[in-house]
Assembly symmetry: C2
Homo-oligomer: 382 residues x 2
């Protein structure tokens, strides 16, 4: 027997905390309130808001990642603000304005480092996750997009102007940078597959996508889906679909077509197109339920009051409904039994059962956009 | 603005708890101490034990599942004990001895129901996750094995004597049972794939495996891997590999061969064999790192002091080492940067970096066996 029994004092302390507020963090989440610079702390099991935390700056196009213990969120604001939010104490634990214009971030696989991708000045800055002190500054001379984390304390990101993808390895004392050229003209966004292996950049300046096998010792860009974006009049960059909208459903990816009322089905092994499904409008997000059996799709303005649910076996729409005006985002509970939907112009989050499609609850929120559940802490490349 | 600001009192309460002990639960875990009927509460980030919780009965072949908030564990003992452990208060929150001889359990996708699979009396009993009151008793007249949860508040399990698989749907007021016959002779264990779609039973009474497509409206057993188990002298049932040892590495499963010193590679789409890798001994578990790039293999007595690491691209062994006597189990951190290893006869848990293979720490434990991190709360079919 080892002397590890809990002391009475510690027990009493833990007990008193338990009586107060939720302190287990596995079923919590944050919702971005884009117009007020606040985040709403929510509880999935109670289908309830627990607290509002304010003072996060410009949260248009904001995103966030979680620490491995699911206690802290790192919120990336458009204004270059990096805000560390403590979900247990329900307050801002730290904040730095680290650049003039930022576009997302990532956290290393060990939770030690937080990286932010910047437009102005262009590059990536990397911060200690505990103190928010900057530990590495990687200027790129370019707007920098598509920042993701991959195993081995590495970050991958892409240069809009230069058409290059860089891999920054932070496992040693100094950041080691590998530069991959020839990614294509004006990559505007990128994603990494859930296993951290395949990095895919969308191109604004030409049709098609550029893929890298990060397991290769010397990754080279490979052109895939050559028709992606072709055949329509050119779209402004803000109308190009976010690549995070890709969903892996079984052996296929489902992704929004560019400028069309359809989603595309793509073989996950070789990225060849396997089908198309006509949709209500121009899709924004096509999100797979965690088991991959359903894909939920929302749409661009002015058709953004509607959600369609597609069965991934038949590729047919099996359910259509209108949660309300301006459906911006959807997040599934980790095992997929419910889905939370941001309805911005109704100032509501709506909660639905994914089997029966019945509404299970709603929560007031100020112009809600992104919903982020703490289970994301345990997934790669988000 | 909604009136959701945190009160000062609540802040002070949360603050005092935070000063005491870890209360975020995302990076915690429990280790089974099989000889003493205890579980050790551990912290992945601190690589440390936090507390020992005793009084859980016979924990030989024990397993456990977590509540969605990662606060509670439900521990399934061999003696039929179902013990609810509170990770926040670090104590037993409830315990029932619900049968004479049990073999594992599962938790419904919504976290509301906990099911236990029993040998004696044969069947499945289902309990309210909050109160541990029994809400359904499903006798089968047979030893019952291979219990898993699948989406839609359903449990799937298999009858050793009858060779049937039953699906219990608990989404309504009464349990609805679907019985599937002809699974084969003496199924001894089963698994479900991570998406909840394919249920695979291992057969003791004949060669091969039996697979069900649970997305089919009327699932029928299909024989797969017809050579699995063939060509060797018959093994006693306790030497048959646990099917939970299957790992999905990219587009292939990796699984221990029966009675041979090798692992098999199987195409995840059609279950045809794609390769074999010779190993140090008879594999017990072949565990994929979460990104699928590596598979870590431990071995049966008397070669159970060794671990081999296989690269899933080349299918070659890339690292071999000896953590110590009786390596029983391995658990990866959720994003795979480290692995924890139970070394029973050294009374230690060893922790290794999965990139460098360097040892990062060790923890004292009494005859440790299974290691279960709280991230399992968010995965299906465990």
């Amino acid at each position: 027997m080892k002397p590890l029994h809990l002391t009475l004092a510690a027990l009493a302390l833990a007990g008193s905390a338990a009586m107060g507020e939720t302190i287990a963090t596995g079923d919590l989440g944050l919702v971005i309130e884009r117009t007020t610079g606040a985040v709403l702390l929510v509880d999935q099991s109670d289908r309830a808001a627990l607290a509002r935390i304010e003072g996060l700056g410009d949260l248009s196009h904001a995103s966030l990642v979680y620490s491995p213990d699911q206690r802290f969120a790192y919120v990336f604001g458009r204004d270059g603000g990096l805000t560390k939010v403590d979900l247990v104490e329900r307050r801002i634990a730290g904040r730095v304005v680290q650049a003039g214009n930022a576009i997302g971030g990532a956290i290393s696989d060990d939770g030690a480092l937080v990286a932010v991708s910047n437009y102005e000045p262009g590059g990536v800055r990397i911060f200690d996750a505990v103190t928010l002190e900057m530990v590495a500054d990687i200027p790129t001379g370019s707007k920098t997009i598509g920042l993701v984390d991959v195993p081995g304390r590495r970050f991958v990101f892409t240069l809009w102007d230069a058409g290059e993808t860089w891999i920054a390895d932070l496992s040693g004392d100094e950041a080691q940078i590998t530069k991959i050229t020839g990614m294509g003209k004006n990559p505007y966004d990128a994603l990494v597959t859930a296993n951290g292996r395949t990095y895919i950049a969308g191109l604004f300046g030409e049709d098609g996508l550029s893929a890298l096998d990060l397991w290769d010792e010397d990754p080279k860009p490979r052109q895939v889906l050559p028709g992606y974006g072709r055949g329509e009049e050119p779209l402004p960059v803000y109308k190009m679909p976010h690549l995070e909208g890709w969903a892996l459903a079984g052996a296929e990816f489902v992704l929004p077509a560019v400028g069309r009322h359809e989603v595309l089905w793509v073989d996950a092994r070789d990225f060849t197109e396997t089908g198309r499904t006509a949709t209500h409008g121009q899709p924004v997000f096509a999100m797979a339920r965690p088991d991959g059996r359903q894909v939920w799709v929302n749409f661009a303005h002015p058709l953004n009051d509607t959600i369609q649910v597609i069965d991934t076996v038949t590729k047919q729409v099996v359910h259509v409904f209108k949660p309300g005006p301006a459906v911006l985002h959807m997040e599934f509970t980790p095992r997929g039994h419910e889905v939370w939907v941001s309805v911005r112009d109704a100032d509501k989050i709506m909660i639905y059962d994914t089997q029966s499609f019945e509404k299970r609850g709603e929560i007031d929120a100020d112009s809600p956009s992104g919903i982020f559940f703490t289970a994301r802490a345990h997934r790669m490349g988000l």
